[in-house]
Symmetry: D2
Subunit: 183 residues, 4 copies
């Protein structure tokens, strides 16, 4: 039992990363920082005669790494009330994977995992971050990935998150829960 | 009085583009297809000692073009219940522009324009597209750009949108409204 | 083929009623003004040993009338960003009907009808009314009633809605659609 | 410094009440169970020549009691993805109070208090309860009452909430926070 964390942010030691590390400390985790990889935005070829063309970038390798784990954590700062564009580009590409003959069991594999969202924002995230949570809900529903929970934290400057007691306690609870699942 | 359209999709003659063209037909429009430009995802340097570093890509040139117009239409297919990653990356960069000494009047300029959203999706967009509209609402509120309206259409295959009478009529109404504003 | 309209408002010739009448003009309609009936708020007896007790009020008679029709229109002014308390009390009672031996086929009957929502509000209803639409979506999903569409209008003073061209055109389109369904 | 709790539910020892009592245990609290009072649904007389007419029910007495406190907790089971009809009818009446010469400082008084929402639901409340939270956000924003936080719990049968560790810990945190504020 192991965990993949997909980071959508860019700051070293950003608030979202800090909160996420609190949540997975001491557990078996593979961390993927999307900023370190090259991922093309999707080109919608669902209805072209040839269908989707293979893309030469890091996307498939990341999917392969993620699929090895049992828990997937989407860790994203809230930029403009939603996940980062980087993370959105990653998710958008799922439309291609769903039609990729190399990944015919993509949905089936995801259905046996569970997903968490950890997100930190600066402008009333517990209110204005809710449409993003609803979108993750729709996304995971469509792809058949059980949505097991989320943590929303508040912060702007690096380190701010350490003042958000509620988020820190939620991270601690999540860690306990993940620990039980894993052991 | 003129209109900038920012396209977030990738398909030639996609449903969203078709619906948007219905909305602006015969009017003075500058069309910007984000897929034709190179835009880096934001690197959050809000709190670094040097602040944001200049990025060598097409972003600023696009901002300059958009700022010349009075109406901005955000035209995006609904990918995974939200705007496309391409468009999100474009919006994310506004955080940089807000702190860019070359754009000190960015918010002020936007406050004298008005924005529309035109979006087409395939999975109950009139329901499951609503969190995206709420996000645009928060986004425009934050940046001070008046949100003048939106059209949500339904379609998957190219051409589907031509069956969505409701969306087509809304596009026609929008065109009339824009025409009045412009003349 | 016929239509039941459930009105949640209280004003004679209120904006929501006006918009609704535009939508059903000339069609076979049974109008139910909740304000003219006595409906007890639900008492949650789902888990008491005796279960729900019969309530002596007008609720069941209204359900019987509604179930005779093929289309149900929920017509509510937007009070405080949601349906009126009166309409909410009516909906809340469905939890009782779902367990009422006299209505064992309640969900089954509803599944063969279709629902519309018509709502008018005064404070940015096209934005701030969206959580209400999402709730109707969840409500209709749970009860198995197909959600066929909605119209959101803007207005405060009686008569304001006649200035909302977009809502009026949507009402006209809905009327045409209903007419086709009925004939 | 003291707390008013407004209960919208009907079950003795229901899940929402249990979670709320955890949150305020040992603190100075005045509890108001809406089910024990008679509150008329609002009749919208905002634009009649006479304006709102006095209503003979328990509403004003409850408002008077609530206004004495510094913290207001809205404690409602989630019925059909929203607050109960009873609580909605109570909130709807604020439109009258806002125009009542006896309450000219209603908004002003509320602006110096803070509000919390505690809600328990049975159908994915952490996802499907979010539109309700957004509505409370809009409601409190409009009335000028600072929205200090919310807890969403999960449960159906009485006692279920005691299995929701996350909600219980959130209640404990809220109690600590309220205790600090009060002392």
């Amino acid at each position: 039992m192991s965990i993949a964390v997909i980071y959508g942010g860019t700051r070293p030691d950003g608030n979202t990363e800090t909160l996420t590390k609190e949540s997975v400390q001491g557990l078996e985790v593979e961390e993927i920082h999307l900023k370190d990889y090259f991922i093309e935005p999707i080109v919608d070829q669902r209805h072209t005669s040839e269908g989707f063309q293979e893309v030469k970038d890091d996307y498939n390798a990341l999917i392969d790494r993620i699929l090895k784990h049992d828990v997937i954590i989407f860790s994203t700062p809230i930029y403009w009330y939603s996940m980062t564009g980087r993370m959105k580009n990653f998710v958008d590409r799922w439309s291609q994977t769903l039609r990729d003959p190399k990944y015919t069991d993509f949905k089936d594999q995801l259905s046996r995992k569970e997903a968490y969202v950890i997100a930190v924002g600066g402008d009333q995230p517990l209110m204005k971050g809710l449409p993003m949570i609803q979108q993750f809900h729709y996304i995971f529903d469509f792809i058949g990935l059980p949505f097991a929970g989320y943590i929303i934290g508040e912060g702007n400057k690096p380190g701010d998150i350490l003042q958000d007691q509620k988020a820190l306690i939620a991270a601690e609870q999540l860690r306990k829960k993940l620990k039980e699942v894993i052991s």
